[in-house]
């Protein structure tokens, strides 16, 4: 549990069963913690010790999975301690911004009016705020690697639905709390759906499965419902 003594960022390595550890970054602000978690994951993948299965960073932490027959906690902890000093030197990938068409409201966005009422805004004002700036992708989320984004500047957190929908289609553009997401596959969901994009974000017939990575951004823009079919395709 003790912080690793080093000049690099402070991280805590917590045992997570016989085949994983959780690395938690203690940083003065959440943005620095996020950058460190993702840089450390990248370093682990580049310089993978034998038996490493994967490194999955989210916000202020990463899960490191390994085969405990081929390595062990001490070996993985040692590698993390050695790499954490180098995270500041990780070259930043040039982030991409993807333009994402969205049919807002009505059939495609059943919660747009409710969200507008919560925020004491018009539906048009909600759309304007949701499309004003590109939204930063923090991590891959569940299910199926959906892009988990910082939410738009609504000024207040958005409550989840009192009762989740059993079926939310792929492409649903939704918000909850201070976060935003686009559904990658059909699944149950409790987030408020503002609209739907005709673009396919995750495609199992194609590698890589998704064009985006954490650090990229999605910049939404409104399209009329009549143009929905014309915009079908893969995010690129």
């Amino acid at each position: 549990m003790a912080s690793l003594a080093s000049t690099g960022p402070a991280v805590r390595v917590l045992d997570c069963g016989d085949s994983a550890v959780r690395v938690v970054v203690d940083a003065p602000d959440s943005d620095a913690a996020w950058r460190t978690a993702h840089a450390l994951a990248a370093l682990l993948r580049q310089d993978a010790p034998d038996g490493l299965l994967g490194a999955l960073p989210t916000y202020d932490s990463l899960l490191v999975e390994f085969d405990c027959v081929r390595t062990d906690h001490a070996g993985i902890r040692g590698r993390i301690a050695a790499l954490v000093d180098r995270v500041d030197g990780v070259p930043l990938r040039v982030p991409r911004t993807f333009r994402v068409p969205v049919a807002y409201g009505g059939f495609h966005g059943p919660d747009l009016d409710a969200v507008a009422a919560m925020l004491d805004l018009s539906a048009a004002e909600v759309i304007a705020r949701h499309t004003a700036e590109p939204l930063l992708i923090r991590c891959f989320g569940s299910p199926a690697g959906a892009p988990m984004m910082d939410g738009p500047a609504f000024g207040a957190p958005i409550p989840r639905l009192a009762s989740p929908r059993p079926h939310v289609p792929a492409g649903a553009v939704a918000v909850a709390g201070r976060q935003a997401v686009v559904s990658a596959c059909p699944a149950p969901g409790g987030w408020q759906i503002l609209g739907t994009t005709p673009l396919r974000l995750v495609d199992p017939s194609h590698e890589p499965l998704s064009a985006y990575l954490p650090g990229d951004s999605l910049h939404f823009y409104p399209i009329p419902e009549s143009e929905f079919e014309a915009h079908r395709g893969a995010l690129s």
Partner: protein
């Protein structure tokens, strides 16, 4: 591919492997055989690589025909395995001759049987794995009349008097039971459950019907009680390990298995060990589970002991194959023999 396996009774079956470990980094489930031990053993018994595709047969009867002579091995839960009605033994290889039907019926005590082939099953892969992903919609269950291309491996001889003694008893089936004792280590968030964390180890929990490859749902029985979360802070989404024991809604335990979503925001009370996850991959709804608290060292040692037996078998078979290469013998199909009862006795003795 020189051969084809045609499914004649699909039941609930699919072609899978040890899972998509590269999926987690891009938010995809790991998936793969839920009983990793039995799957690894099946491939080792036919001298196939650990990650080779194999067929996972879940609970219901399965049958298939082959157009090529195949050396196969079936592991996992006890079942009635036969070739054209002649009973065959599990946990050792046998020949499945071209033109015959292999059947797997009456799977009992456990849930999953694995069918491995000496050779290569030709199936699509995603990120290095053929494991179906039910969420992403990659691959999926086998259906009646589906065919799978198969390239038989180099081993054309596996003499009943030469080959079978080398592998007989080399890997043991796990103990099958209606009352599973599953080892768990403390999770990183155990403190959030305060003193109630001990309840996990103080009674029995029964496996609910809504359990699958994503996770098992269990409720306490016979006076057992659920641990209760004492801290209710907002938790940022983070990666959760396979085997995570959570109490998400407060009314049941959730144990995440290989099909889990890779991120969640619930505290991880405990984590089922690697060997325990293989056992849970066999546990059926209605069976009960006790969670035995073990240390990390004990958990790792158990995983290594299971793998060591498989590795010994792999080395023995490699030597046999190398000797066979030097002799250049002709194909030999051993006599079909009735099934002796040791496996049944072994399986039900726990």
């Amino acid at each position: 591919m020189t051969g084809r396996v045609r499914v004649t009774t699909a039941g609930i079956s699919s072609v899978t492997d040890l899972g998509r470990s590269a999926g987690g980094a891009v938010g995809q489930m790991t998936g793969g055989a839920l009983d990793q031990y039995s799957a690894r053993a099946a491939n080792a018994l036919v001298a196939a690589p650990p990650q080779a595709p194999l067929i996972e047969i879940v609970a219901a009867d399965f049958a298939a025909t082959t157009s090529a002579n195949l050396l196969v091995a079936l592991t996992g839960a006890p079942a009635d395995v036969a070739v054209n009605g002649v009973p065959m033994r599990q946990w050792e290889p046998f020949w499945w001759p071209a033109g015959t039907e292999l059947s797997v019926r009456s799977i009992r005590l456990g849930m999953r049987v694995y069918l491995a082939v000496h050779g290569t099953l030709d199936v699509p892969k995603l990120l290095g794995s053929c494991a179906p992903d039910s969420v992403l919609g990659f691959s999926g269950p086998l259906h009646r009349d589906d065919t799978i291309g198969v390239e038989p491996g180099p081993l054309r001889i596996f003499h009943s008097h030469l080959g079978i003694p080398v592998v007989r008893g080399a890997v043991q089936p796990p103990r099958f039971t209606d009352h599973w004792r599953i080892p768990v280590t403390d999770g990183p968030d155990r403190d959030e459950f305060g003193a109630s964390a001990h309840r996990l180890h103080a009674g029995r929990f029964v496996i609910g019907n809504h359990s699958n490859h994503i996770g098992l749902r269990l409720t306490p029985v016979g006076g057992a009680r659920l641990p209760v979360r004492e801290h209710h802070g907002e938790v940022l989404s983070r990666g959760v390990p396979i085997g995570a024991v959570e109490v998400p809604a407060g009314d049941e335990l959730l144990i995440l298995h290989r099909g889990r979503g890779v991120t969640a925001g619930y505290p991880v009370l405990a984590v089922v060990t690697a060997t325990g996850l293989s056992r849970l991959g066999q546990a059926r709804p209605g069976q009960s589970v006790e969670f035995v608290r073990v240390g990390l060292g004990e958990a790792v040692a158990a995983a290594r002991a299971e793998q060591a037996a498989i590795d010994r078998l792999t080395r023995r078979l490699a030597r046999l194959m190398s000797a066979h290469d030097h002799r250049g013998s002709t194909a030999s199909i051993p006599d079909s023999r009735p099934v002796p009862s040791e496996f049944e006795q072994l399986s039900t003795s726990s």
